[in-house]
């Protein structure tokens, strides 16, 4: 990193911007998903675009409103939209409608090994591989988030009042248990080692359960809602948005209870809006409300480099290709950077 790039970020383009491709699409980027060495991006006008080998794909007209959620099933993209449709899209742009709920939104989608899941209102629709009709898992309130564990045997569904944990037995029957905590729970994720479950809440805090003994606690102190959070590859840290620093909670051993997080500061005191772990490293990409993106090593905060300078639009998506060669950054203003991570000589 050049010494002066922190001083006048508005004047300097980063080397990543200089060697990458920038797209000013003026359509809000809502989400992105890595599929192999491609990245599929969902937009606020219902379209999906696929980025690969430095190129942008044809526009795929998937939904008529907003692409609310994106996930993948093998090589296929899954999207849910505010047009009530749950779609499977191939990397070639072929669209298959899996379900249509009309004026009810498809809020969340996910999949595991051919089992497809979407949620609309308070119902999880689960299509087992090669089954035409979905299984319906009903909940008492609207679903805030949904996630499979790493083996696809458990499905966590966050909602008002806690999380419903669905478990599949060996005859493929699903049964549920409840993890209770008052308040409205939004996004939910398992740690990569499946030992913890974490939710973000309507309040500016996160909640977590240690699954072996169902003990739970919360992580608070945020200035804003925590909308983006993820575990690094080995679950040593949970990295989170919602503050002017990237807050990294230690999740090794018994978890973060009674321990302090590592706070990674950035110049300019902007809100961290998106965090994306660097694959196989204790490092994260951090996107800020002004559009800038940094890469930081969690345990060496001095090792921070700027990837993208600011655009004035909050970062809403960061995705890294599977081979770690390229990164895609998108923001609410429709500015996209698609660039290689390594210098030619570093490869």
């Amino acid at each position: 990193m050049k010494a002066d790039s922190n001083k006048f970020p508005e004047l300097n383009k980063t080397k990543f911007e200089n060697r990458g491709k920038e797209f000013k699409l003026r359509i809000p980027v809502t989400n992105a998903i890595t599929i192999g060495n491609s990245v599929a991006v969902g937009f606020g006008d219902g379209t999906v675009r696929i980025f690969r080998s430095g190129q942008i794909s044809e526009v795929i007209k998937a939904h008529s409103g907003v692409v609310l959620s994106i996930s993948k099933d093998g090589e296929d993209i899954l999207t849910g939209g505010d047009d009530g449709r749950f779609l499977k899209i191939s990397l070639d742009g072929e669209i298959k409608e899996i379900a249509n709920f009309g004026s009810r939104w498809v809020d969340h989608v996910t999949a595991y090994n051919g089992s497809l899941v979407c949620t609309s209102g308070n119902i999880v629709y689960l299509w087992m591989p090669n089954k035409k009709e979905p299984k319906l898992l009903e909940h008492e309130s609207t679903i805030g988030g949904v996630a499979f564990d790493s083996k696809g045997r458990r499905l966590a569904v966050s909602r008002y009042g806690g999380v419903t944990l669905w478990k599949k037995d060996y005859s493929n029957k699903w049964s549920s248990s409840n993890l209770i905590w008052k308040g409205s729970h939004n996004k939910v994720i398992f740690s990569t080692d499946d030992r913890f479950l974490v939710t973000s809440m309507q309040e500016n805090q996160l909640h977590f359960w240690r699954l072996k003994d169902k003990t739970d606690s919360f992580m608070s102190g945020y200035g804003a809602k925590v909308k983006s959070f993820a575990f690094v590859y080995d679950s040593k840290f949970l990295v989170t948005s919602g503050s002017n620093d990237a807050i990294c909670w230690p999740f090794d051993g018994n978890g973060p209870e009674g321990r302090k997080p590592i706070c990674l500061p950035y110049v300019g005191n902007k809100l961290v809006t998106f965090v994306e772990p660097f694959p196989n490293e204790n490092a994260i990409f951090t996107g800020l409300s002004d559009g800038s993106v940094f890469l930081s090593e969690i345990e060496k905060s001095t090792n921070t480099i700027i990837i993208r300078s600011f655009t004035q639009s909050e970062v809403t998506a960061i995705a890294v290709t599977e081979d770690c060669s390229s990164i895609l950054i998108g923001d609410i203003g429709g500015n996209i950077l698609w660039t290689s991570i390594w210098d030619e000589e570093e490869k």
Binding site: V66, W105, G144, E203, Q312, I332
Partner: protein
């Protein structure tokens, strides 16, 4: 991207089943006005609205886990408003229909409590559609009907062609007794210019000053058997800021559930600015609003709409705030 920071106005449309909400919504969606409106309807609403920009919602009232009873919000609204704000095409307004039996407070509170909602949208006005024929009975039978009138910035008194003049007067009196500050518009088949119900900016503190002449006049008589009532107070003696804050915050903390809406313009000793505030239950929005106009009498005026106001010693409390 300056436009992404613009707050989209949200109109809350309340009213009992059959009052004419659907007629109004259909007009909003089909009239050629060159504007883009999204309409959030509820599951139990009347049928017959079909449009790309109609969103189905379940009315989900959430308590925040901070223990404050008045911090109940509409969870579905937070979700849907956040989703609508991601749209590529910008909306001119959003209309939220509530069921006839819904308490309007959580809807209004959502705009105070949720930061994302407050950043991107703003509560514009609460519009209540009332059936001129049936309102009196509904007010007697359902406290929700009273609340919908109490919270209203505008009451569309619909179906006036089906009542005679004296009947109309009775209904209007009834509305005014509950909420003397709502603007009453007479309609048949909800025939009203959309500019009279959308983009009113009724929750803007500045607007409270604009509408000053109509509101905050004097004590209104009320009958004790009425459930929701209003009381207002005027003082030409400046108030002591500390005393007022002390009294008022305690009042809202302890009686905030019974106090549905408050509005006021205050003259504090030693302050050159007018202080304007408004509240929904315990939640308050207050700010100095520039200097008092030259040559105009300074005075403090305060209004409460709610239940059991008689028991709160409001007059005494207000009097005690006067500077000695």
């Amino acid at each position: 991207m300056g436009e992404t920071n613009k707050q989209v106005p949200v109109t809350v449309l309340t009213g009992f089943l059959g009052a004419g909400k659907t007629t109004l919504l259909n007009r909003i969606l089909t009239e050629q006005h060159g504007k883009k409106y999204a309409v959030i309807v509820n599951e139990f609403g009347e049928q017959g609205i079909d449009n790309d920009l109609v969103v189905d919602a379940d009315e989900e009232v959430f308590e925040m886990n901070n223990g404050c009873i008045c911090c109940t919000v509409r969870g579905d609204l937070i979700r849907i408003l956040s989703g609508l704000m991601k749209r590529a095409d910008k909306l001119d307004a959003i209309i939220v229909e509530t069921t006839g039996l819904a308490d309007p407070a959580p809807v209004a509170q959502t705009f105070f409590v949720d930061q994302d909602v407050a950043d991107r949208t703003k509560l514009d006005a609460i519009v209540t559609v009332a059936d001129a024929v049936h309102l009196s009975t509904q007010l007697s039978d359902h406290h929700e009907a009273e609340e919908q009138i109490a919270f209203a910035d505008v009451v569309l008194l619909n179906k006036i062609d089906l009542v005679d003049e004296s009947g109309l007067e009775v209904v209007k009196e009834r509305i005014k007794k509950i909420n003397p500050f709502a603007k009453i518009i007479h309609t048949t088949k909800c025939g009203v210019s959309l500019s009279e119900i959308l983009n009113l900016d009724a929750f803007n503190l500045k607007r409270i000053l604009d509408t000053e002449p109509d509101f905050l006049t004097s004590d209104h008589d009320h009958e004790h058997d009425d459930d929701v009532t209003s009381l207002s107070f005027v003082s030409d003696t400046p108030l002591d800021m500390e005393k007022f804050q002390d009294w008022f915050s305690k009042l809202l903390q302890t009686k905030g559930q019974d106090i549905l809406r408050t509005k006021g313009i205050l003259d504090f000793t030693g302050e050159n600015d007018r202080y304007v505030f408004q509240g929904v239950h315990m939640l308050m929005d207050a700010s100095p609003m520039g200097k008092w106009p030259e040559g105009k009498e300074r005075s403090s005026r305060l209004v409460f709409i709610g239940r059991n106001l008689e028991s709160m010693n409001l007059k005494e409390g207000f009097e005690n705030c006067k500077s000695a």
